[in-house]
Amino acid sequence: MNRTATRLLIAGFAACLLGEASSASAQGFDWKRHQGETIDFLTENHPWSNAVVAQLPEFEKLTGIKVQVDTFQEQQMRQRLVTLLQSKSQTVDAFMSLKSLEGRLYAHAGWYADLATLMHAPGETAPDYDVADLSHALVAGETFAGRLDGIPLNIEGPIVYYRKDVFQKCGIPPPASLDALMAAAAALHQCEPTVIPWATRGMKPALPYTFSNVLHNFGADYLDAAGKPVLCDPAGINAITWYADMLRQYGPPGAVNNSFLQTRELYGQGRAAMAFESSNEFGEMMKFPHRQDDTGVMLLPPGPGGASKPTVIGWGLSLSAFSTKTPAAWYFVQWATSKEMDAHLALQGIAPPRDSVANSAEYMAWLHQVPVRQDWAGLLKQMGATGTSEVGPPLDRQPQAREIVGDAVDSVLLGQASAHDAACNADKQIAAMQAEK
C-alpha cells in the first residue's frame, strides 16, 4: 500500500475514532461492559508479551474480563495458531502475529477479524485510544486490502552496529555508502586482523530480513510494478554479490549457519567490528561489557539506489475471525496497545510504535542516560518514517518465498552458483509460485 493511501486510511480510522470519542466522552467509557467474560490470548515468548502479561491483573481489575494466556516459542506458537485457525476453532481470541511473514496468507485465508468494524461499534472504543498516533509505516504493515487486521506492538529493523573505538584506531570514518562499507571492512581486516570486520545473517530462512535492506539500497526489488520477478536484473545480481562477498571475505567463518544469535554474540563479545542485525538486539548487545560506551549505530548506508531504504517490521496484535468474543478481546487490544502501556514498555527497551511515546519526556530522559540510546532511537524514528516492510517477495506464501531468496544468496555464499544463475533461478521459482495461484 502506498504512503498516500496509508495516510488516508489512518485519517479515516482517526476520524471514526474521533466521532466515537466524542460520543464516548459524553457518555463516559464503560470498561466494565464485558465483565465476566473470558478471552484466550495466544502469544510468543517475546519481551512485549512478557511485560504485558505481567500487567494483566490491572486489566482484569479494570474490565472484569479474565485473560487466559498460552505462551509458546515463536515457531511452536505459529504451528498451534495455524492449526486452530484452519479448524475455525473458537479457542483463541487474540494472538500476536508477524504480518511481514504471515500477514498476507492469514488475511487471504480470512483468519483476521476486521478491527475497523470493532472500532466503529458504538461504545466499544475508549475515547483516548489514538490510532493516528501509531507509526504510519507500521499501520500499513498491519493493513491488508485496505483492512486493518492488527495493531502494531513494536518497531524493529536491521541496523549497523559498529565499534567506534576500532574505527577510530584504524582511522576509518563511518561509511557513507555500500561501497565505502566494503572498503571499511577491507581496511579493518588489514588494521585489526584478529577482529571479524562484518557479521550478519547467513542462515537461509533468517537472511531475507537483512538482505532485503541491501537489495533495496541497491535500487533493486523482488517484483516490478507489474508483479514480475526481477531479482535477476543487474541491480538484484549486484545486491546478491555484495551480500555474499561481504560475508565470504569479511564475515566470520561458517557465517552460512549464522542467525541473530551468533551475530549478537560475535559483536557483544568484541569479536566483530560491525554487525548488521535487528534493532531489537540493541538491549542485549549493550549488556556486554564496554559495548554501551564504544558502539555507534547507523542505518545501512545508501547504495546505487539512492537514499537508504531501511527494512521496518513489527509484531502486531490481532483477533481471530472465528472468535465469538471479539468485543471483549478488542478491549484487551485497546488496553495492551494504549499510550500508557506503550509508555510503560518503552522504558523496558521495547521500541515504541507510537510517536507520542517516542517523543515523551520520560522516554527522552531514559534515552539521555546513555548517548548511544539516543542514536538508536533516532534510527527507529527514521525507519518508522521511511522504511519498507517488504522482507521477501510480496507473495501470500512468505516462508516459501523467503526460502527461495535464502537459497539464492546461500548458493552464492557457498560458491555453488554464480550470482547471475542464483538470481535468475530464484526468479523462475518465484514465477512458478505465482503461477500456482
Binding site: R78, V82, A109, M203, P253, G254, A255, N257, D410
Partner: protein, 276 residues
C-alpha cells in the same frame, strides 16, 4: 480384553496413520480448502530434487551413524565386559549422554563447534591443526551430525551389547581358548557370531531413530548449510509446518514411514537368520 486393546490400537495408531495417508492424497495447504489429488503429491515428490536430496542425506546419515554407533558401542561393551572395577559408576556414566534431552545436546554441540566462538577449534589450534567449519561446511555437516549422534547413542548400543555379552555361554569361549583362539580371531569367529542377535537388535532400534533423524539437525543447522543436512523428516516438517503444505508433507511422511518399516522388516529377517 481383546476388544479394548483393538480399540486402543485403532484409535491411537490406526487413525493417525490413515488420516495421514488420506491427507497425502489431497492438495491441502493451511488457509485453503482440500482438493482430492489422487497420487498427485507422490508424482510431485518423484520430480522434486529436494526430495531426492533429502533421501540421499537421510541414507548417508543413517549408514554413517549406524556404523559409527555399532563400532563404538561394541568397543565400549567389550571394554566394560572385561572391566572388574567401578562397573556401576562406568555404566552410570554411559547412560548419561542418552538421557540428555536432544535440545540440550544440540545446543551444547552448537556452542562447542561454532567456528568462531566454539572451544573445538580453539583446542585444535592448541595442537597446530587448522580450524574447521564443522556444521557450517556442506561437506562436513553430515559426518559432524553423525559424530554428535554417536556421542549420544553409542553408549545405548554399548549397554545392549554388554547385556548380550553377559549372556554368551562361557563353555564356548573355554573351548575356543583350548583350541588356541585369541584376540582378533576369537572376536571375529566366536564373539561376533554369537553376539549377532544383540547387534541386530541394537541396529534395529537405532535404525528407527536414525531414519527419522530430526531433533539434533533442527537445533543445530535446520537442514543447512544450503540443503546439505536436510533429511526427509526435516524437509517434511518444513513443508508442513513452515510452508503449511499439509498434503505434500503427508506424502513425504508416508514415504518416510514406508522406508522405516522396510528397513525394520529387513533387520527383523536378519535377526531371525542370526539367532542361534
Amino acid at each position: 480384553m481383546l476388544l479394548p486393546a483393538l480399540g486402543f490400537i485403532a484409535l491411537m495408531i490406526g487413525f493417525p496413520l490413515f488420516d495421514t495417508l488420506w491427507l497425502s492424497l489431497q492438495h491441502f495447504s493451511f488457509g485453503s480448502s482440500p482438493r482430492f489429488a489422487a497420487l498427485g503429491n507422490y508424482a510431485q515428490l518423484l520430480q522434486d530434487t529436494k526430495f531426492w536430496q533429502g533421501l540421499r542425506v537421510t541414507l548417508a546419515l543413517y549408514l554413517l551413524s549406524l556404523a559409527l554407533q555399532l563400532l563404538a558401542g561394541l568397543y565400549l561393551a567389550l571394554l566394560l565386559h572385561r572391566t572388574r572395577v567401578l562397573r556401576g559408576l562406568l555404566r552410570t556414566l554411559l547412560v548419561s549422554p542418552f538421557v540428555m534431552p536432544p535440545v540440550v545436546v544440540g545446543m551444547m554441540w552448537l556452542v562447542i563447534l561454532d567456528p568462531s566462538l566454539g572451544i573445538a577449534n580453539w583446542l585444535l589450534g592448541l595442537v597446530g591443526i587448522a580450524p574447521a567449519l564443522w556444521l557450517a561446511s556442506p561437506d562436513w555437516v553430515v559426518p559432524t551430525v553423525a559424530m554428535i549422534d554417536t556421542w549420544q547413542w553409542a553408549p545405548f548400543v554399548a549397554l545392549i551389547l554388554l547385556a548380550g555379552l553377559q549372556t554368551l555361554p562361557p563353555d564356548v569361549f573355554e573351548a575356543a581358548a583350548i583350541d588356541g583362539a585369541r584376540g582378533w580371531a576369537l572376536l571375529r569367529r566366536v564373539t561376533l557370531p554369537l553376539l549377532a542377535p544383540s547387534i541386530i537388535t541394537a541396529a534395529t532400534l537405532r535404525s528407527v531413530d536414525l531414519l527419522r533423524f530430526f531433533d539434533i539437525i533442527y537445533i543445530t543447522t535446520q537442514g543447512g548449510p544450503g540443503d546439505a543436512s536436510q533429511t526427509l523428516n526435516i524437509y517434511a516438517f518444513k513443508q508442513g509446518f513452515v510452508f503449511l503444505d499439509i498434503g505434500y508433507a503427508s506424502a513425504l511422511m508416508v514415504t518416510l514411514t514406508a522406508i522405516v518399516i522396510g528397513a525394520v522388516l529387513v533387520l527383523m529377517r536378519l535377526r531371525q537368520a542370526a539367532t542361534w
